[in-house]
């Protein structure tokens, strides 16, 4: 292990490339975070530390708009992630435990394809589909669209987890007089839980963050945080955007941290 590390470290340019990558990835985030605490109205001149812009989004003239957008974003993310995770859990159970049914490979492709399709294509397709069935655009159209595109994100960690669970556990349960349903709820589901939680968190973040599809299917008057931020930026960049971005970043960091600890807790060992 040590030898391999030494090797990589001794490559010419290793240090420079590493630093460059870190700077490109994190410098913007650091700058946004720092400037969200700026007292200035300008987004580039530093005029001292202040919580003014946080006060502004919670109590300023636009606070009602932000609150409504945040409410929409979080309720949609929670409901869509919950539904997507439930569907993904059932799909993964069928795919991994359903034996070798026809079109198994095709089914897997169908579930994960949306990850490969450009999001703009999905957005247009979803919009056209909703129009053709006469689904009014608004809160519920966003919810349905988010549930649909979150399924593959929830599915992947759940399936990965399930493949690591030998089927002898369920067989042992059935051998000990558990019926199929009891074997699922008492044995398989608890063992899958780390995968399910990871899947849920991933789906939640993806939904919270989505702009393109939401923008297409939301209809007039309904905003989520990303669409509201975009709308506000179009009218000029103000430091309050940085405050909101920093808060969203905080939510992501919390999610990623939970996800990390859940995935580290391997209960099949």
């Amino acid at each position: 292990m040590a030898a391999v590390n030494d090797n990589i470290k001794s490559y010419t340019g290793f240090k420079a490339i590493t630093i460059l990558c870190l700077v490109v990835l994190y410098a913007p985030l650091v700058i946004v975070t720092i400037y969200s605490f700026n007292a200035s109205k300008s987004i580039t001149n530093w005029e001292g530390l202040s919580l003014y812009w946080y006060y502004d989004i919670f109590a300023g003239p636009e606070s009602a708009k932000w609150k409504e957008a945040a409410w929409n974003s979080f309720t949609i993310a929670i409901v869509a992630a919950t539904m997507a995770t439930s569907i993904a859990t059932l799909a993964a159970t069928a795919m991994v435990r359903g034996g070798k049914f026809k079109l198994r490979t095709a089914s897997f492709g169908l579930i994960s394809l949306p990850l490969m399709v450009p999001e703009i294509v999905l957005a247009v397709a979803t919009l056209i589909f909703f129009n053709s069935i006469g689904f009014t655009r608004g809160y519920f159209s966003i919810l349905v669209a988010h549930t649909a595109f979150c399924i593959p994100f929830a599915y992947l960690p759940i399936q990965a987890r399930m493949q690591g669970i030998e089927d002898s556990f369920e067989q042992a349960a059935m051998d000990l007089y558990a019926n199929k349903r009891q074997a699922f709820t008492k044995i398989l589901l608890p063992l899958m839980m780390p995968g399910i939680i990871s899947g849920f968190l991933l789906a939640f973040i993806v939904s919270l963050d989505d702009f393109i599809i939401t923008n297409f299917v939301k209809g007039a008057g309904v905003e989520t945080l990303p669409t509201a931020i975009f709308g506000s930026v179009k009218q000029g960049l103000k430091p309050n955007i940085m405050a909101i971005s920093t808060l969203l970043l905080g939510v992501s960091v919390v999610m990623v941290t939970i996800s990390y600890f859940v995935s580290k807790k391997d209960n099949t060992q």
């Binding site: 042992a172 349960a173 059935m174 051998d175 009891q182």
Partner: protein
Amino acid sequence: MPDEAFNMAQHHKDADMSPSSTAAIEVRDAVKRYGTFTALKRISLTIEDNEFFTLLGPSGCGKTTLLRMIAGFEDVTEGAIHLFGDPIADLPPHQRPVNTVFQNYALFPHMTILENVAFGLEMRGKSKSEARSKAGEMLELVQLSEFAKRKPSQLSGGQQQRVALARALAPQPKVLLLDEPLSALDLKLRKAMQLELKHLQRETGITFIFVTHDQEEALTMSDRIAVMSAGEMQQLGSPTDIYERPRNMFVADFIGETNLLEVSVDAIAGGRATCHLGGGHELTCNEVEGIGVGAKVHLSIRPERLFMSEEPAEGESLKGRIKENIFVGTDISTIVELAEGPDFIVRTSNSDRGNKRIFEPGTEMFVNMELGAGRLLID
């Protein structure tokens, strides 16, 4: 239903059932096919109540398949399986009063040891407290009470093995299935567990069906053994039967060490067959039904049934020369070369060293055996 069959076996007999309805398990003409591959080719066997029964055979011969068919994890392509007289082939696993000790133990990793052992009892409708107290008793039986609150991963292999055993025994199954339960343990622990298992079987009176590929283990533990190979039953009998009276080449070769000699039968008289070994050597052994004069067959002689001496002894004697002595701990294996005939392996107990039964390589001597020591085999 199975409960009735269990308690009222005698009654069933009177009620004009087939006489084998008291058998714990009866497998009738069972065939198992995976697609075009036939894993079991028409197996029939009867396992009596309270029996320690072993399925023995090399890896891939279909032992696990047969066990999983009895447990309900594989369906039966053809044939029937009866448990105390009741057909069970169509019942799902959770409706069969049969429990399994899995090869990899399959202990539930998210539950404590106590919860694992209580699981079957709870699924059978016992209250949580009742199940736990019964599970506690089972843990006492396998001497693991102090580990009740641990998770399976915090136990050693041998301890996990005993938990798996306690978990499978707790709901008091009619039949316990064990699929190579000792194969992951080291030799010393395995020997100890063999005794413990045998002891548990006697104590509980539950019928055990034990799967192993280790012939020594099978001989030590079983009341009866079914020797299988390539999906077929080769021989069914007590350990002594199988060891001393193997029916065919496969059984003789698979169980223990043996001298397998090609012979032709010269004469049969008075229940004895005189055979020709080549090089002018002759041997007489017991006649075997189905092998007539002129037959070219194999003769099996266990190395420990042979002994060496300077002068020919009573019984059968063949003149030969010592090729090599091999020290194997408790015994010495000697390879003896017959003049223009086959080689023999002779096993002499190390304690016989002083009795002049061991000779230096190159010595001319006689290999002797009792009259019935060799056994003719149907191929």
